[in-house]
Symmetry: C3
Subunit: 352 residues, 3 copies
């Protein structure tokens, strides 16, 4: 598949806009789309970013290819060649040109849609776009250039920083705060009650959740996530963090700057995660733990104790063909017994 | 509990409609509801599909029971007996009669609700029902007989095939495509950005996500799922796939026809899943892997390498009483050491 | 951080309202906020509930502290002291005072918002609040004092008991039932189709899902959960259960009274969970199992067989530094072989 460019563009105009030089081909040649090497056709611009994709490049039918000096030889002779310093960055910039154009088309137009319900004392910045069916409650503060897609709910006194975008159906509960340039995908919930109940006579008594969620700048949060408000202090997501879809963040969690969490991960209440951490998909973090900066957790690991040393940590059971797994799993149950028997043999042999 | 039939029906009319023959009881006997064997009463029709439910059948108080020839003896003498070739299929058809009736009642009526916001240049097929609060953006194409429940969002240029149904609050992002006869449950998000960020100077730079999600025909997707759009190529869900609730599908994933994924499963970006695969609940698939056709993955397995042979695969740790688990888990940590000690003993004994 | 009280209050008025006695400080001293020990300032009321927080108490700058007799010595001399029997309960009550005040502000006002779409034959109780964009279909029954936040969908014939609150964007499908004093957080879906498909000629035929979801009284359900309706009988959540965020409940599941389920947990179809059970985060329950009363399941455990004895059960793989994990995981694959070799050595040594 391919992505249409905002306008057809000559190679000459392309390098004027994004840098690089035309090493082969007619500068007046026109490209109309951005496409991957395997799907590109004669009107398409493609890119070769690294050696593993060389084989794909050698058989590409792209009209023109962005490539670094070192891999230029891999491109077929009938493709135009645009040599750039960093083809991955150049791809990202061309893609960003397309994305910006599309977002301008897709976003609700500036202004408040007549079906939106905005409290008279909510504060709206310059150039704000509030889509159909949005609800913005009293004392909410919406920064300049913020875009709310259809059906978003902004609770009483919540604040959204400049240029942030809530795509659709997002719920931002009362009092919660989003920074600037934040992107939140559809149906995500920010500020739901933390899971706090005290046992009393065989029942559970609710502990009211009075803190907020405070999300920093340049944070992206995927679809269908749930981030709970703090019990009394705040739940905090640091600047530059990226959260994938279907992530659960418990109350009073604090996540340091520029950490990334892959999908289906759950962080239990009051856990503290450092800066620049990377959590794989389906990870679970037990409550009240502390994880230091620069820790990587591989997918589906359960973190059961605090981590004080940067590095990579894992806990998943290795995948096997089912019959082999059944035998291994059965033996896992016997492990303490096997250890005992080994010890006994060692004693018998005089080895320990 | 029981489900009311669209109308009371005599056994004679029932077999005319759904097949089978009345082996015992008055053909003019009337049944009003469909019920399970344990809850059915004198006005209810029930069904015995297979031997494990024989004990339930022997004490049922149903007015009439659908049953195959082989198990007819299990039904009490005071129940009317309707012998059918395939009682499970016959149950499904009677249930389908009820479901069709209910859906006709529950669906938004044909037409566009006055509170819906439909772009003038969106294309609506014949007999379309657009519920309250829906938003359909420019250039979207809605096929014949499509039903959108309350609060659905269909982004710019998205397309929905004939007879598909989005139950409520579904978000279909710009450009994404659903096939015919697709059912999507509430709050599911299709087309959110894939999770693509390039590290740069200790921060994360967003890779714009320009591909689409393309969903085939006869696909069912549960509630609160998130299916990301491709980075440049498309994310593809094949014809006849069935996805349960709370499922995450990363960007550029491709799933073959008629595969089923149980709830809470996550598939990381660019993974390829074959046809007729069956994934249990809570499964995780690492990115960029390939899984061939006809593979079964048991619940909570993490798939960490490509699978090239059909079969069943597992990776969960066996459940134990907690104290036993603690001992086994402690021994797991010592496994490499135990293996070393075993080797040493083998050498001592001259066995290896 | 701190939470503002509904009004500034003197210590004298505080003990009149919540009990306890002023052991030190001016009864006319005013507190304006409730705060944790580490963040409280001179205008704030804080609380010391148990010995582990003594160190925090010793350096607190709170204006006044709620504390039990036994730990009163830990509070600095310049803090006012309010001695109470149970400081945790007293904190919960003060927090509840704040929460009630906030909820009154945040809730949609009593009445039906003009943008809501309520069927003429839906039944609305006394003092009901129906927020903007809500859809209440025919024959639905909304009890006294129920509050529906923005964008909630209540399907045909669904029923909501008195004083229940659906925060925002909640979908309650046709025919489903919520008890009294139920709280459901945003984007949760109740009553989606159970995952029932019969294999037929390489395809999947849908089994219509005709049962309901029946939720008891005093139940709390977090954000972005999905609770499926039964196939023919009902899915049942007992009185007093508490469900965290992102939880999946399959069709025909029954959960006993006062059980709590932490986030990201999935319960497969027809499983039965007893009363007062506690499930950690990310737990998976295989379908058709039975779990007795008073069972605790630790986080990320997969329950693969029925549990008939109260107690604690676990199945997660222990977390390790990645290189150590790789060695342990490799050895897990060899476990059946290691067991064989151990047996051989035992025979050689005449030990078994």
């Amino acid at each position: 598949m391919s992505a249409e460019l905002p306008e057809s563009i000559t190679l000459e105009a392309l390098v004027q806009r994004f840098g690089g030089r035309i090493a082969r081909g007619d500068p007046q040649r026109v490209v109309r789309r951005l496409a991957s090497l395997t799907t590109a056709g004669a009107d398409d611009l493609s890119f070769l970013t690294s050696a593993p994709f060389k084989a794909q490049a050698e058989s590409t039918r792209a009209g023109a290819v962005l490539v670094g000096e070192a891999l230029a030889d891999a491109i077929p002779a009938d493709c135009a060649l645009v040599i750039v310093d960093d083809p991955y960055a150049c791809y990202a910039h061309v893609a960003g040109w397309i994305a910006g154009w599309r977002e301008a088309l897709e976003s609700p137009p500036v202004g408040v849609h007549p079906s939106a319900v905005v409290a008279p004392d909510a504060s709206l910045g310059e150039g704000v776009a509030i889509g159909p069916g949005c609800v913005v409650e009293a004392e909410a503060v919406i920064g300049d250039g913020v875009r709310l897609g259809p059906g978003c709910f902004v609770g009483r006194g919540a604040r959204i920083g400049a240029r942030s975008r809530l795509v659709a159906q997002v719920s931002l509960y009362a009092g919660c705060v989003l920074g600037e340039d934040v992107l939140v995908h559809a149906s995500t919930v920010i500020g739901s009650d933390g899971f706090g109940f005290a046992p009393e006579a065989g029942q559970w008594v609710k502990i009211p959740q009075l803190g907020r969620v405070v999300v920093g700048n340049q944070v992206e949060i995927g679809a269908n996530c749930a981030i709970d408000r703090g019990a009394l202090d705040d739940t905090v997501i640091g600047d530059g963090c990226k959260l994938d879809n279907l992530i659960q963040i418990g109350h009073n969690v604090r996540i340091g700057e520029h950490s990334v969490l892959a999908g289906c991960t759950g962080v239990s209440g009051s856990a503290v995660i450092g800066r620049r951490c990377r959590l794989g998909g389906g990870v679970g973090i037990v409550g009240h733990l502390q994880i230091c900066d620069d820790v990587t957790i591989t997918g589906m690991t359960m973190v059961t104790r605090s981590i004080t040393t940067p590095g990579t940590y894992s806990s998943s059971f290795p995948m096997m063909e089912h019959a082999a797994w059944e035998r291994a799993a059965a033996t896992v149950r016997q492990l303490p017994d096997l250890r005992q028997r080994l010890r006994k043999l060692e004693k018998l042999s005089g080895n320990r």
